[in-house]
Symmetry: C2
Subunit: 204 residues, 2 copies
């Protein structure tokens, strides 16, 4: 199959790419990160392994692409005109995505291995630098609308994603919809309170 | 050494216990959780391995004790008379504790393995059920003082620990003192806002 796919959206190359990235996530769930290999992913995808070596070079580069694509597909950036609505929609989609076996496996691997493996740490940090910027667009729009004062958009995203991630990955308590909406409300109340102007500069 | 230590605080038995628990944490950092064994911990502590089998039975039970003791020692429960002060003190100590190599190793192991190993999942869930209740005492006192309306104390602890944990373990952005204090301020503002009464019932 596809020996030299051209990077062009929508065509055969894009199809091969999607097949490979999905195979990477499925293979991770099945074999774990240590046993994961470009060979194994190629076999699962039914693609020549030289294609994978040429296009991604390492399993970390491939998996970064896989998790990035998954997040783009499953966590679209809302634009409802209300920051509260945007954040609730975003957090709900982000946590639903986190709770799938593939994404959980990636996130847990990233947390376990990033202190020990530079390639994993780089993958995690690239993903989050990019993702906080992408998610932060909803905050930037709210600032431009005058809905909230200027704040660090990535910090707001961390404030609303932090508690549900903590629950899902650390304490294991149930991540209910009320909890997600409550977290967003709490953060927005803090951001909007005129007596807590200093908070705005600090946290986010 | 100490073949049949009696469980009595302060004596020789307590000393052996402390030596063993510290050896467990040090051994975890050196060999990782898979290679960790009661034999290895006994060797490192200079204690007969039958003592460890009799007292703890499994490495998971020993490590739960180790992380619990470490948290009690390094994250004392403050009682300053102000919820804000108490929470800032608590979160600062909890994150300083999290950022030590031993506790990071434990937490990352817990996150990586709890979906796959029941004994690890039980260890993590026992630790956090207990720890959220212990930390939640500062919130309970504030409720009794009338400083805040009735809320779920564990939920408040999750709201203030979530964002710094997320930063430390997931996004990797720096966990500054301003960030910690800002998180506490944001949560308290939300809890205290009379226009957001519904939040109180929901989140915490």
């Amino acid at each position: 199959m596809a020996e030299s796919p051209v990077r062009r959206p929508g065509g055969r190359s894009a199809q091969v790419r999607a097949t490979v990235l999905n195979a990477g996530l499925a293979e991770l769930v099945d074999v774990g990160f240590h046993a994961l290999s470009l060979e194994g992913i190629a076999r699962r995808a039914g693609v020549n392994k030289t294609t994978l070596y040429r296009r991604w070079g390492t399993k970390e580069a491939l998996m970064l692409d896989a998790i990035r694509e998954r997040a783009s597909a499953k966590v679209p950036i809302p634009d409802t005109g209300s920051l509260r609505e945007d954040l609730v929609t975003l957090v709900r989609a982000a946590i639903a995505n986190l709770l799938t076996p593939e994404v959980q496996a990636m996130v847990r691997v990233g947390i376990a291995l990033s202190p020990h493996e530079n390639a994993v740490a780089t993958m995690v940090s690239s993903f989050w630098t990019e993702r906080l910027a992408v998610d932060g667009v909803v905050v930037e729009r709210a600032i431009r609308r005058g809905e909230i004062p200027p704040v660090d958009p990535g910090g707001v995203i961390e404030a609303v994603l932090g508690p549900p991630y903590f629950r899902a990955l650390v304490t294991g308590r149930p991540v209910t919809d009320e909890f997600l909406a409550g977290t967003v409300d709490l953060v927005l109340t803090g951001l909007l309170d005129p007596e807590h102007r200093e908070v705005r500069g600090d946290l986010p």
